[in-house]
């Protein structure tokens, strides 16, 4: 589903470099577009209620409410209190994961070997961004992995496979409450979530229409 918003009218337009963290407040009604500039780039994303961050994104509430395992156009992004935080208003990719979580140095040792411990990871990005708002690892929950392709088979088997996003694909969300949004532009090279080559992404924000 495509968007009709014009980049020229955006109030914010920023490139997030490969491997980097990012955060910004989103006012209720604002729309954020995340563009996968070169394709196959996972964008790990978390949302917190701006005036009470103990209310935060819940992958399980979101999936249970929509009755299916992937995020796409129309998905209502729900909080741990069951409130709608944002709605996916446009999506040219078609499938985003929210079950596999963000990569971490510690999980990397388990998945790929102890020799991968000292590689940069999403949860390093998230911890640094969270610290700016007085939050810690306690606040780091299962996130959304935009553009990450993780099919879950009827058997339960779950594999991170090559992304289906192509250069320029985007996803757009409209904030339904005042939000804090955190992004880790995923640095993982041990699995195909970034095409084994992490690249930059672009974020655009529009004022409430």
């Amino acid at each position: 589903m495509k968007s009709t918003l014009d980049p020229k009218t955006a109030i914010h337009d920023e490139i997030i470099p490969a491997n980097a963290p990012w955060s910004r407040r989103l006012a209720r009604g604002e729309t954020m577009r995340i563009i996968d500039l070169e394709g196959q780039q996972a964008v790990d994303t978390l949302f917190y209620r701006a005036d009470d961050p103990s209310e935060r994104y819940s992958s399980q509430e979101t999936l249970r409410a929509q009755g299916s395992a992937y995020i796409n156009a129309g998905t209502r992004i729900l909080s741990n209190a069951g409130n709608v935080m944002a709605i996916v208003t446009a999506d040219t990719c078609g499938r985003h994961d929210t079950s596999a979580g963000a990569c971490s140095c510690e999980a990397n040792t388990v998945r790929f070997g102890h020799h991968t411990r000292y590689m940069h990871a999403c949860r390093e990005n998230f911890l640094l961004e969270l610290s700016k708002y007085g939050m810690t690892k306690r606040d780091l929950v299962n996130n959304i992995n935009f553009f990450m392709n993780v099919p879950i088979a009827p058997s339960g088997e779950m594999v991170i496979v090559d992304g289906i996003s192509t250069p320029g694909d985007y996803v757009e969300l409209r904030a339904e409450m005042d939000l804090l949004c955190l992004i880790s532009n995923c640095p993982q090279v041990n699995n195909p979530c970034n095409g084994f080559n992490p690249t930059s992404i672009r974020v655009l924000i529009w004022r409430a229409g």
């Binding site: 299916s68 069951g82 999980a107 058997s155």
Partner: protein, 273 residues
């Protein structure tokens, strides 16, 4: 071990890991070991037995090496659970790592429950139902209102707040959970399905603590439980003295990933007598 030097090298290594995991997950789960996980449990092994009324919660601590048996009296419905490292509660159950590390969303005999720190919270040493949910969470006042037309029925979200609160923890300490005896799977399109008939009354699961644990259990119907009435049966939780794992332990040797997760876990206890 060296890291690959090119994207193709990383890809090849990932495909090797994937193939190993898929072969392993396709293997038949070895039959139950009546000797190590007897049913019923001999009285002498039991440390504590708790009957959790329908709708209620219970918390317990569990020493590394002891086992928690959860028994469903009424069959499918759901006992939602959270786990924290009792010695440092900032370490807790992490849904994403649990499914990703094992390349599988189903918890059953031989699989592990993992923390956010690359360590094993608990091993599933026995499982008689094979119907547990790692994907879609527990109930809340809102889901009860939607399902049963009543917001005042007991729910898992509030139970977890109460359970965590009794240990000085709060909302920030309640991550996505897992729910035992809730047979949820996905279909080809990713739709969440409840598999009727998978869980039978009396089914149980044994969870061996691999570090000192704080456990919260909420005995509330899973929001996808299709029964029209909110009428949760009691669940029994039994903590028991389980035998020490042998060198051939199913869970400790489940995969290369499991071996590394236990290496990370055992390092926490290396200084202990």
């Amino acid at each position: 071990m060296q890291l690959p030097t090119s994207p193709d090298g990383f890809r090849q290594r990932y495909l090797d890991l994937q193939r190993a995991a898929q072969e392993r997950n396709a293997r038949k789960i070895p039959p139950s070991d009546e000797e190590r996980n007897p049913n019923p449990l001999p009285e002498a092994l039991i440390l504590h037995e708790e009957v959790i009324p329908g709708g209620w919660y219970w918390t317990t601590t569990l020493k590394r090496g002891t086992t928690l048996r959860l028994i469903t009296e009424g069959g499918a419905g759901g006992v939602s659970a959270l786990f924290w490292n009792a010695d440092d509660t900032s370490e807790r159950y992490f849904a994403g790592d649990t499914v990703k590390v094992q390349w599988h969303t189903c918890l059953t005999r031989g699989r592990l429950i993992l923390s956010d720190m690359g360590r094993v919270l608990a091993s599933v040493t026995e499982d008689r139902s094979g119907g547990h949910d790692t994907l879609s969470g527990g109930s809340s006042a809102a889901t009860n209102l939607q399902r049963y037309g009543r917001a005042d029925l007991r729910n898992t979200r509030d139970n977890f707040l109460l359970a965590a609160g009794k240990h000085g923890l709060g909302s920030r300490d309640i991550p996505p959970c897992l729910t035992f005896f809730a047979p949820v799977r996905t279909d080809e399109e990713g739709r969440l399905l409840w598999r009727d008939g998978v869980v039978q009354p009396g089914d149980f699961i044994d969870l061996r603590a691999e570090m000192n644990l704080l456990v919260a259990l909420s005995n509330c119907p899973h929001p996808l439980d299709p029964r029209p009435q909110w009428a949760p049966s009691p669940a029994r939780a039994v903590t028991w003295r389980s035998p020490a794992p042998t060198a051939l332990d199913l869970c400790r040797n489940a995969s290369d990933e499991a071996i590394r997760a236990f290496e990370n876990t055992d390092a926490l206890f290396r200084g202990d007598a």
